[in-house]
Amino acid sequence: MPAPAANKRVKNKRISRNIIIGSEAWALPPLGHPDRPKGIPDDHTKRWTVYVRQPEGDPSLSTWLNKVQFKIFNTYENPLRTCDNPPFEVTETGWGGFSIDIRLHFQPISGEKAQYRQHFLQLEKYGSEEQQAQQERTGCVRSEFLEVVHFNEPTEALFDALTAEDQWAHLVPSKSSSGSKKASLGANGRLKRGLPNGERSAQLPEKGGDDVPFSQEHEQGLIDSLMAKIAQVDRELEKETARREKTENTLKALREELGHEAAQQAAQQASGDRSRRR
């Protein structure tokens, strides 16, 4: 049966989009402190936000993302929070971390079903000492991950939408006054990502920075570290192979010495031991 034209897909193509799924948590002022907001249960110690967003300067999320549902812990009032428009985030107060189900609803043009992601709400300090120190300093615990969404064989409509230039339109300031031009320059004096004539790409940002958690630099760093691990494993593998050859040689010598039957018996015993252990 031929598929309706609306659902026609672009064969052999994949479009990838980076999104950031994460959470931030701040400590609330202690009970009785004048700054502590009212109407918050006494035992809540943190304010947190869980969010789904695009890296700074990336093409607009809402091109393909219709709405996001966060399923938070079910003692909260209305545990299924739905965000129909960006920003896709939920802010609450609480005292403990839990796992949040995030349901991504795609735009109808994509013809895709909703997908689940999970995120653990990290409220306490974590990571290396350095990280923990930084978290202590800023009073903010941020835990976020990059997620790459692959649109395999997107529908033609989605393909068009995801390769259109107007995906960056949301970043252009509405009033192009002189003040905004200064704002459009990043900290490093370059044009901010995603603005006209600037770096406009769905790839990771080229340069990392304090406010850019994921970039091609980071990616390269990760790759390098993985490469180092590979080299490590390679060395290990060489040694292991050499050792194995050694044992093999001694085994051969022993086999020759003791004869075929004994060798078979030994092999049986050795393998028998292994199988029994399982």
Partner: protein, 635 residues
Amino acid sequence: MASNRDVRDMLGLPVGEVAPPTANKKSKKGGGTKRIQGVAREVAALYGERPPPVAVYEEKKTYRAKRQSTGPAKKWIQQPFTNPARPDGLVLKHWRRKPTTAPPVQEGEDAAMQDSEPTDYLESCADYVKYNITVDMPDFTDEEYDAHLRNNDWSREETVYLFGIVKDYSYRWAVIWDRYEWQALKRRERALAEAAQQGNGDTDSNALAALPFATPRDKERSLEEMKARFYDISAKLMKLRIPEVQMDADQYSLYETLSKFDPVMERNRKMLATALMNRNMDEVKEEEFLLTELQRINMAAVRLDAEREELRSRLDAPQANTSTAAGLQSFTSSTALQALFQQLFQQDRSKKRSSGGSNAPGRLSLSANDMINTPSNSTSANRRTSMALPPSAPSQTPVKTLSPHQEHRFAVSTHDRLTSGITFGSDKLLKMRQAKSNVQTQKIASALQELGVPEIIPIPTSKVADVFEQLVAKVGRLLDVRKVKEKEMGECRVLSRMKAARDGTAGVKQEGDASGENNGKKQGEGQDTPMGDSNEDGAGEDDDAEGEDDTGAQNTPANADRDDAEADGGDEDRAESRPQDVDADADADADDVDAEGEDESAAQTSRATSQGAGHKRSASELSDGSQPSEKRARK
């Protein structure tokens, strides 16, 4: 309806004046217009008042020539004639006009003339010759009849009679059957013969009549019998005259029809035809009803079959993609594959040259079109031109053709086999960690942990995924090598123990020493490993545990203890499973208890217990005599 007066009123005529209509009619008649009859009148009515363009004449008034009388009546005479179609030269007479050249004769001489004329003039009338056609008949000689044509049912005489009558009536079988009187003829002959015999002597005839063979068969011949006989003989004669192989097409078809005549079938056919003719109305109706019913059932069956077929085709697996298959088919030969490889290689190089390192993943991306195009690019020149094309440009449904740079910007990539839908980068990375078996997955996980690879890779892009995949593959290989090594080491140990046992009872101590050496050596090797220091002991111990340790890296002491306990259990099992070591069982059990005691005390290092296990096993392997000493040594 308008009355006469109304009409007058409308025409403006005075009401009082009544013109006599009869006068008008009369004048019309007087005008000479004739009543035309028949069709002609209708035609005239169509003309209306206008005169017809062509004058219409009535047929009966057309000219006919008058009969001309040319003198007195002609004379007719009875002319005798001979018919050449007749073989007997019989002279018959028929009426003919008297030739005009003949002199007029007086009426009184008529009789004399008739008598005299046939003598001087005999007409040979050939008009009937064309009707005297003799049919072609097969004929046979006596030798032929005796050799081939004999039949128990037919006498020679009757056969000849049949042939004669067939010839007489020119194959008109209905007539032949009607006139076939062989039996009657025979009966008459017999009657004559009997009459003659009665004259000679009565006894003979009675004796003859009593004999069964003497009575000639004189049953009624059916049409089919006659036909069968005649055709049979015809076919046989035909075959005798012309051998089958030499017959031409016509002759052979004739021969076939002649030789295939089946009297029984023919009779049945006729019976059926008769039955069909003699059906009454009810039977005809019933038959029609049954026929329509049958047709209806057949049609329903066809429809049902079609529906079933459709259902089955829906349930069946989808047909293979023929376009892809066609594309792949061209790569069955090795030369085509070679060409493909060359092309891919060149393409990859040119891509690297053009875009440097910034191009997305280092894997080959091929679209289906490239594959299909390849076979035609047999010459190198063609290949080069095809290389110039951007590799991803000809997608199958080009919604929008993007330059490679644009594709990179919008993170569009081309892949060979994609299942449509949405996938996530982190899922892909997670999947890579999973091996076929649970144990292997665990092993890989622990190995990665040793390496310090985080459980969640923070940037799951495809570049990272590719590198990670390599890493996992390497780790898998490492684990495999390690597994094989451990197995071989286990075998080594068993063999060396056996060797020691063979060498003599003194071997016990040696074995212990040897295994001690073994352990020491292995630990030395273990220290070479670049794994984390904390893991090292665990790894070493695993090695010591006679290669039984599958999980590869148990680094906590608790785990090691459990391991050893399991090792003990294993030993026990083995001991029990070997019936010839019945004596050893008790000892082994005792050992186990001891080992467990050690575990509980937890004062000893796991290495010590595992060493103990090693000794224990060797003990169970050895003869009974050596065991007590071994036990003592351990304690």
